[in-house]
């Protein structure tokens, strides 16, 4: 017990928490945006892989780090557009479309990586984002700019969702698309926009892994983080503020588990520590299940004019 408290007292711990939380914040916000508009996007796992690869490849090819982030965002947006076409224009099953995109994006990324680097013994690396020493705030100063971006996006997204006409339109489209249509708002346009924007965020979440947390791309890098974001959105009741909280809470336990593994008092097999994040996610889902107030039109395909 004392050892745990010691751990919590060290700033290094909290630095790790923020670092682990960053891709989760970005990914969860991305899923949140899609689901608020009424569309489940299970493509996140694959889009994060694609964002990680595309952003990293751009930087490896000589682009600046921020250009890499932009490339990652655009990659996410393109897959988002595909998902929007399948689920909004064609009203196909959102589950299957999303899973298909995860498989496709992952396969394309792995293929692209192998084509670009056919025989490598050690993975090629890039120079990642540097810490923000110029910032006077502790813990935050040791983070990279992408973390700052993630933290700033939370209040920004909240503002857009709750205080602007566009945000209201997004929410209405996710609650009752017929109502939106009847008030002159194009459901297809708003949903597509939300999915594309959300998928861009997912791409950026992936790029954090290769441009900030690590400096190379390797297989199984995302390792289920995308699915955890999907669970976190439910836990967050589709609210950006709670999404931040959920991501931080999850990162807290993940950082804790990592340290416990390495500490001298570790008696359990290391795999059990690694299981903790996934078990917690399932627990979080079960906890909020009863009172989850879904956007009412979530996962219901909308065909204009079909009554």
């Amino acid at each position: 017990m004392m050892e745990v408290l010691d751990m919590l007292a060290q700033p290094a711990f909290w630095i790790a928490v923020l670092r682990i939380a960053t891709p989760l914040i970005l990914g969860t916000l991305g899923v949140l945006l899609c689901e608020r508009a009424g569309v489940l996007n299970l493509g996140i796992e694959g889009i994060m892989v694609a964002g990680a690869f595309a952003g990293w490849l751009a930087v490896y090819g000589g682009a600046s780090l921020w250009t890499g982030v932009l490339v990652a965002a655009l990659t996410g947006a393109v897959f988002g557009l595909l998902h929007a076409f399948l689920t909004v224009s064609l009203a196909l099953s959102q589950h299957v479309s999303g899973l298909g995109i995860t498989l496709l994006a992952t396969a394309l990324s792995y293929y692209g990586y192998r084509v670009s680097f056919p025989k490598v013994s050690t993975p090629p690396t890039i120079e990642p984002f540097a810490d923000m020493d110029w910032l006077a705030i502790p813990v935050l100063a040791q983070q990279t700019p992408l973390t700052l971006l993630a933290l700033l996006l939370v209040p920004l997204l909240a503002y857009v969702l709750y205080r602007t006409p566009l945000g209201l339109a997004v929410r209405m489209v996710g609650e009752n698309p017929q109502a939106a249509e009847g008030q002159g708002v194009s459901v297809a346009a708003v949903r597509t926009g939300a999915i594309v924007a959300g998928s861009a965020l997912m791409g950026v979440a992936g790029s954090f892994l290769t441009l900030s947390a690590f400096n190379a791309f390797f297989f199984n890098m995302v390792n289920g983080r995308g699915w955890i974001c999907v669970a976190l959105v439910v836990f967050a009741s589709w609210r950006p503020g709670k999404a931040l909280l959920g991501a931080l809470l999850f990162a807290f336990f993940d950082a804790l588990q990592l340290r416990l593994q390495q500490s001298s008092g570790a008696t359990l097999p290391y795999q059990m520590y690694l299981m903790l994040p996934y078990v917690l996610s399932i627990a979080a889902l079960v906890l909020v299940a009863r009172k989850a107030s879904y956007p009412q039109a979530l996962m219901k395909p909308y065909r204009k004019g079909e009554r």
Partner: protein, 353 residues
């Protein structure tokens, strides 16, 4: 643009749609082949030859198809009831572990049971392991409304870690010189070969038989009706007297059992023991196969052979031409999307709004 439902869709269209979609996919993936700097026709020729061009190639393809048929059936049964079982991967692994537990962890004594009986017990244990794994998420969904997609997905990761734990510890093969693999099945329990000098084993017969069983179940039994009814409209099904919760439980157990059997049959037929990488994503590929097959149990066999052919062909093609094996995964994933769109076109007409 809007979609108008056609009154009826022709049977011919329903068969042509997947084929057309696959052809379209192959055309699109030509771009990827070109990116790798290889000649497109040569690559595809090698792909087909590697998958289907010789008895050996066919035997490899069919061997690879066996777990795919089973996971494809597992997903088909579940999806028919709108239970989105994305956890077939984990169910396969626990099935494999259970098979080894019953079939190998007795220091060669075989629990003093005749091999035939032990074999049956082994299959039963695997089926049960897979069934129980899916039961949890299924009950969470029907009782608490927890979306089963995320829970089954997360369970996959948990199971894989669990397998790793088992392979490091209680189920570790002491003779494997540090390599993380499980104790092996005793020889009596291994499936015999269908074609000598190849890896093709009688598991193929088990898989095909199960496909027929699932088909008969869905079409001719009351349970099959219940499953289809719940998948189509759970409220109306409940009104008509279908026992919804009981059926969901049965579906979960059936689906999980099929995936668990995939693990058992892989162990008994191909590997002989459990390793961490024994399944290169068969559980997820099963989803693609189920959708390619239009959730029809018999078509699952055809779809599995197709996908297995792609995967096997890509291995040999890659060695020859240098195009990364992941091309097969791209083709499979893109086929899924293309088939979805093509099948939609058989049911809907595109009209201006």
């Amino acid at each position: 643009m809007r979609l108008e439902k056609r009154a009826t869709s022709s049977a011919a269209a329903l068969v042509l749609a997947p084929i057309g979609a696959v052809v379209f996919t192959l055309l699109v993936s030509s771009v990827l082949v070109w990116w790798a700097g290889a000649a497109v026709t040569e690559t595809y020729a090698l792909l087909l030859k590697g998958g289907f061009g010789s008895v050996f190639a066919l035997s490899e393809t069919l061997t690879r198809a066996v777990p795919l048929i089973l996971t494809g059936l597992a997903v088909t049964v579940a999806f028919k009831a709108r239970l989105f079982n994305i956890g077939a991967e984990g169910q396969l692994y626990v099935g494999a572990l259970a098979a080894v537990a019953v079939g190998g962890m007795h220091s060669g004594t075989g629990f003093d049971l005749p091999p035939a009986l032990l074999f049956g017990l082994m299959l039963l244990a695997s089926a049960l392991a897979g069934a129980l794994l899916l039961l949890g998420p299924a009950l969470l969904k029907s009782r608490l409304g927890v979306d089963e997609v995320v829970t089954t997905l997360l369970l996959n990761f948990i199971v894989l870690l669990f397998v790793s734990m088992m392979l490091d510890g209680p189920m570790k093969d002491p003779l494997a010189m540090g390599w993380p693999q499980s104790v092996a099945l005793i020889g009596d329990l291994e499936l015999s070969k269908l074609i000598p000098q190849t890896r093709l084993h009688t598991g193929l017969l088990w898989a095909c038989a199960l496909a027929v069983v699932v088909w008969v179940l869905m079409r001719y039994t009351v349970l099959g009706f219940d499953i289809r009814a719940i998948g189509a409209n759970a409220r109306a099904a409940a009104f008509a007297g279908v026992p919804v919760t009981r059926t969901v439980v049965l579906v979960a157990m059936l689906s999980g059992a099929l995936a668990g059997l995939a693990g058992a049959i892989e162990v008994a037929g191909r590997t002989g023991y459990v390793t961490l990488d024994m399944s290169p994503g068969y559980g997820y590929t099963g989803i693609v196969i189920a959708m390619l097959a239009g959730l029809h149990p018999l078509a699952v066999v055809a779809a599995s052979v197709f996908v297995a052919g792609m995967l096997v062909g890509a291995d040999s093609m890659s060695r020859a031409v240098g195009v990364p094996t992941f091309i097969a995964d791209v083709i499979v994933a893109a086929s899924l999307i293309a088939v979805l769109v093509a099948t939609l076109m058989t049911q809907y007409r595109v009209r201006r709004a």
